[in-house]
Amino acid sequence: MTAASAAKLRPHPALAAFVAFLVVAPFALSEFYVTLMNYIGLATLVVLGLVLLTGVTGLMSFGQQAFVGISAYTTGVVTTLYGGSPWLGLAAGLGLTALVALGLGLITVRLSGHYLPLCTIAWGISAYFVFGNLDVLGRYNGLGSIPALSLFGWTVDTGRKSYALIWVATLAALLAARNLLDSRSGRALRALRFRATMAESFGIDAAQLKLVIFLYAALLASLSGWLYAHFLRFVSPGAFTVNVGIEYLFMAVVGGASQVWGAVIGASLLTMLKEWLKDILPRFFEQSGNYEAIVFGLLMLALLHRARDGLMPVFARLGRGDPRRASPPVAAPGLSRRPRPAAGKLLLELRGVNKSFGGLAAVRELSFEMRGGEILGLIGPNGAGKSTVFNLVTGVLPADGGQIRFRGERIDALPARRIARLGIARTFQHVNLVGAMSVLENVAIGAHLRGAQGTVAAMLRLERDEERRLLHEAARQVERVGLAAHLGDSSASLALGQQRLVEISRALAADPVLMLLDEPAAGLRYQEKQALAGLLRRLRAEGVSILLVEHDMEFVMGLVDRLVVMDFGEKIAEGLPGEIRSDPVVIEAYLGGIE
């Protein structure tokens, strides 16, 4: 259970209750608890960024506190040293954060595995010592006497007044994040973490999208820092140590790192728990010690062992009985379509293509052509290099040598997302769906390049018109493969054969000129295969060309116009199905393969 439920509209009663609580809280709670709520709000902003960054996108950061610090110090310097307005401080803080985050982000989002967390720890530690060693920032003693905010003559100088400001900002950020996840960019984002190759194959620029999210998370932290500085009116380096960064991440994990509302839960629980432990622990332990840290650590361990998705799913289960049923999207004007090439015109051309993995040649001197409106079968024994050919044509792998041309343009040096723009769509041998997303959402990823609205528009809900058209198109393609009944189901709940059909409809949603289908019929029953063959024939009639890898010879022979046969990375035969069937070399290859 991941972002899917967060992205869909939460049931309104829970949201309404939450907002109602926020409205009543400052009047019902004592001064200190209002203060505590302020801290929760400030933490929520940072943790929300982490949810998007870590939980949704898969980039783990232990360094968000650095961005909080940059902005808190910036506004501190602007207001105390230069007597500027806090609003100028906000602008300067956000600006400086954006600059720093852009620099760090360009490096960070490209890091993988264990490099990433270490990098964030590294800059987090550096930031602390930079804050502590700059005279202008008051060195280790920090900056005091930061003025209170004032809003149209209303001075925000008490905890209760700050409360309003902090929580308006926090709620706005929460809603924006929720909107974002439920949009074209949001679907792309949610696909990145586990399905980066697939995402790139449908034209999603992973690095750029990650950078945008990295920036957004940094700016949320920056906003939190600005509010922090003017609420506490004192800034010192101690608030930005790497331990603080670790605690933010703990909050995200506790709440459920992949869910927007998990940020509120994580921030609230850990902040409250800390206060509570502070009261309760000294009663049990005479000796002074950092018992909170011990309890925190143990709590984290227990959570990671027992509820790795955090507490949000637990709360969500308690709050709601029946699972959400997606209604089919409303009708909307269709999306524009690509012109098809004339039948028989040269479409795809491979000439002398080579690819080897560590000295082992997977594809050797491979050449063949495909023409418009053609279904070409690519067959061969296991390990013949068919899937490698797919990866070369779609740009998932770079070719070592030779040329690949599509409609006359060389594509062998292009990245996958650029090739997708030209009208090539594919399915994967190992089903490559985002398990936590619904069938409809998965298919809508296929139509990614047919929309244009970005993240900011999505946060502000300015892209609803395009969104309806994208979803409508996706629904149409789902219907085409006969899965209309499963529109709202999570893709992981489908049978394998059905998942392959979803893959096909996702490729269709891209409005392709050329489709590469990798074993589409595997796992299908006889009738389903018949239906699939019918669909592919109709597509051919519409002018879509299809490159097909398939092991079911009956299916292949009855469908394709021509065949290319590979063995050990080389083309051993090419021709009409009838010719291939009686080719002694092919028979030898297949029989040899049985040994």
Partner: protein, 346 residues
């Protein structure tokens, strides 16, 4: 900067680098087998160094409480599994390993502590207390998550670090401790004067590199351990007990940590929270070495040590900034170089 200072800085950097190398080697060993980035490795060092210092002062180190309570927790977890699977016969072994052994060690240490035995006996006592912590820790924190992703395991490491640092403060207090040197000997090397103690640290890391290199590259056990890291399911299918390899690697890590702590304790003042930065710098060293080769990890750690020693001469206030900022571009370069399509498992 004249030549003498240059040589001194090199010597200082190499000594510190050797300490980080001891950490890096253990980190790499654990990572290679379990995919755990074991940041709390530094805590083994502080535990053993501070325990030794307390024993020298004739006080009972709190490490034995950690050992007994940890053992009990691990025993409870093991027993829970055994009872659920109705494997009664496992219970005596669980009791012996996780309850009797720690309690016996604890009783022994508690008895020996006020008697201020010879330094070598104290060293053995420290080893007896710290080394079992490795497998116990693995059992409690990591074994239930053996199949989780590297990032989840990293968060677990952070949580473990939190717990251990907290316990360390409770049991060792906030002031630093140092133990008596084993050898007072000093050698002159040109302008330099090198203490036998720091030579020991360097030699220990060299020996360790050789052992690990031999163990992992040339022995069947090493190959089994490495196979576990690459493919847990596959390793289990061919009969490698993955749980046992996990325990074994943590046992080795704790042993390395304990020995390092004992070697370092006379050279520098150690505090309850020293371990974290140690662990991080060892991690940095291991990563600079590509996170795959023991000799390279040691070289990477020496590089960190040298970087530190020179930056503490040029701009001491910005030492950590220099060290941690410089590694960012290096990380970027390494990450891009080791480019492979990496996707988390859902």
């Amino acid at each position: 900067m004249n030549e003498d200072i240059f040589l001194w800085l090199i010597q200082d950097g190499v000594t510190n680098g050797a300490i980080y190398a001891l950490l890096a080697l253990a980190l790499l060993l654990v990572f290679a087998v379990t995919r755990v980035i074991f940041v709390p490795q530094g805590e083994f060092i502080t535990f053993s160094a501070l325990s030794l210092a307390l024993l020298e002062a004739g006080r009972t180190p709190g490490t034995l409480y950690i050992l007994v309570i940890g053992g009990l927790a691990a025993a409870a977890m093991e027993a829970f599994v055994a009872l659920r699977e109705r494997a009664w016969r496992r219970l005596p072994r669980i009791a012996a390993l996780y309850v009797l052994l720690p309690v016996a060690v604890a009783v022994l240490v508690a008895w020996a502590a006020p008697r201020k035995f010879d330094q070598w006996i104290q060293v053995l006592l420290v080893l007896a207390m710290v080394v079992p912590l490795g497998p116990i820790l693995y059992r409690i924190a990591y074994q239930p998550l053996a199949n989780a992703s590297v990032l989840v395991l990293f968060i677990v490491s952070m949580a473990v670090h939190y717990v251990l640092t907290g316990l360390s403060l409770v049991f060792f207090g906030s002031e630093g401790l140092r133990s008596r040197p084993f050898w007072d000997a000093k050698f002159r090397l040109g302008v330099l004067e090198v203490s036998a103690q720091s030579i020991c640290v360097v030699v220990a890391s060299l020996v360790l590199i050789l052992i690990l290199w031999f163990l992992f590259e040339h022995s069947i056990y090493g190959k089994a351990l490495r196979a576990t890291a690459m493919n847990r399911v596959g390793a289990r299918l061919v009969g490698i007990p993955t749980v046992l390899t996990g325990h074994l690697s943590f046992l080795l890590a704790a042993l390395i940590g304990a020995v390092s702590g004992i070697l370092i304790a006379p050279i520098t003042t150690l505090y309850y929270d020293t371990g974290f930065l140690f662990g991080l710098k060892g991690f940095v060293g291991a990563i600079l070495g590509g996170m795959g080769s023991y000799p390279l990890a040691a070289l990477g750690s020496i590089a960190v040590g040298l970087l530190e020693s020179f930056s503490s001469f040029w701009a001491s206030a910005f030492k950590e900034v220099i060290v941690f900022t410089l590694i960012i571009p290096m990380l970027a370069w390494l990450s891009l170089r080791s480019r492979h399509v990496e996707e988390d498992e859902e």
